[in-house]
């Protein structure tokens, strides 16, 4: 989208679903006693079973208003506006070198923009991948001409007359020039409207491994849902879209099945990918930088294995999808990391 290779997000065959769409309408509160959702169109929508998929909204820096050169990337309108700004100014400052920030930086470089990438931590994506994989990502961006400011605090967004962004002042006092700044520092789950509902919330909507919330006929999935994951023995909010599709299949099966059956549960290991320049970073499982990390080189490509107590929990590869994907069943059954090692080096 940012590179201009696509203009729309089209979903196929939605009409065939035979669903009544209530669009442009916001849910404002939930009454789990009366089984109804109140919406901003003044209507009360009753239900037998409710599925919550409210998603999230982009975090910004405190006190900052989006607009006049300050962007976030969450919606298609955000993407189109950011694309137009990059094309016009040819210069972009990205705050936050997580996946979103890194992908924006890469796409902007690929269409010829100057890019400054500012990250508070010592390396890009380091909180997710750990220092060794993160240093590969840093090298990748620097090799493509991104000016990476790692370990840099943002002191202020500098604005000119009429509030137009002029640059970013870093913690060391230096100024990074640019009329467009995009902030990619994560999301807040959109659950404020559920605060009084009685549905248990904890940085999102707390769910079991079937997506059921603390209220038995209310389910939740997607970016705002904290599902229980047996693989790590924790509730985790997974913001990868294949996970949402996996969750949807489990929730649908649980809702329609006979009450006497054991509920469907999510066993699929989370999967993400991130295309940056000509590199496809792929991760499967629960990547935890505090786990033991092994680095392998396979056919000149790098693979990182994340394990705890000798059991593989996650795998990250740089442009080696076939090998990475073959490890998925091993992660899902908690195989010894030596078995993954043997599979990859066979």
């Amino acid at each position: 989208m940012l590179r201009g290779e696509r203009d729309t997000t089209a979903f196929p065959d939605l009409d065939r679903l035979d669903v009544r769409w209530v669009l442009g309408t916001r849910a404002v509160s939930l009454d789990v006693g009366l089984n109804r959702v109140l919406a901003d169109d003044g209507q009360a929508y009753g239900y037998d079973v409710l599925v919550l998929a409210p998603g999230g909204r982009a975090r910004t820096l405190p006190g900052l208003e989006i607009g006049s050169g300050l962007h976030v990337l969450r919606t298609i309108d955000d993407a189109l506006s950011l694309r137009e700004s990059i094309r016009t100014s040819g210069r972009l400052i990205v705050i936050g070198a997580g996946f979103i920030g890194c992908e924006i930086a890469a796409s902007a470089r690929q269409i010829g923009s100057n890019v400054d990438l500012i990250e508070a931590l010592p390396a890009p994506i380091v909180r997710v991948l750990g220092p060794r994989a993160a240093s590969k990502v840093a090298d990748l961006h620097e090799a493509h001409g991104v000016r990476l400011h790692a370990g840099a605090a943002v002191a202020e967004i500098v604005r000119g007359p009429e509030g137009r962004v002029r640059g970013v002042r870093l913690g060391d006092g230096s100024l990074v020039d640019g009329n467009d700044v995009v902030v990619g520092i994560g999301i807040f789950p959109s659950v404020d409207w559920l605060a009084e509902s009685g549905v248990e919330l904890q940085d999102g909507i707390v769910c079991d491994s079937s997506g059921r919330t603390s209220v038995p006929n209310v389910f939740a999935l997607g970016d705002a849902a904290q599902w229980w994951h047996d693989l790590v023995g924790k509730h985790r909010r997974v913001e990868h879209w294949t996970t949402t599709a996996d969750q949807a299949a489990v929730v649908a099966a649980t809702i329609v099945q006979d009450q006497t059956e054991a509920p469907a549960e999510l066993h699929a290991a989370p999967y993400f990918w991130s295309d940056q320049y000509d590199v496809k970073i792929q991760g499967i499982g629960f990547i935890d930088p505090s786990d033991h990390v092994d680095e392998l080189s396979i056919r000149d490509r790098t693979v990182f294995l994340y394990s705890r107590d000798g059991v593989v929990r996650g795998v990250v590869g740089f442009s080696i999808p076939g090998a990475v994907m073959r490890t998925k069943p091993l992660i899902e059954r908690g195989a010894p990391v030596t078995e993954v090692f043997d599979l990859l080096t066979a």
Binding site: T242, Y271, K280, P321, G322, P329
Partner: protein, 64 residues
């Protein structure tokens, strides 16, 4: 059963391979460009799961 692969949609995720290791054949980079003219009956479930796992909707199952 057949599987039609829209090679221009494939982005090399290799998720079809994870779900259908005995069905799908990928190139070194994980891309799939090979239609399957006949899926043996005992592998039809793998083929279906592989097609469903594709984030790009690149695989179409044609049931007999």
């Amino acid at each position: 059963m057949k599987v039609i692969v829209q090679a221009n949609r494939c982005q090399g995720h290799a998720r079809c391979l994870a779900e259908g290791p005995d069905v799908y054949v990928l190139d070194d980079l994980g891309y799939n460009s090979t239609n399957i003219d006949h899926v043996p009956p005992h592998l039809e479930d793998q083929a279906r799961r592989g097609a469903l796992a594709c984030p790009e909707l690149a695989l179409t199952i044609i049931e007999d």
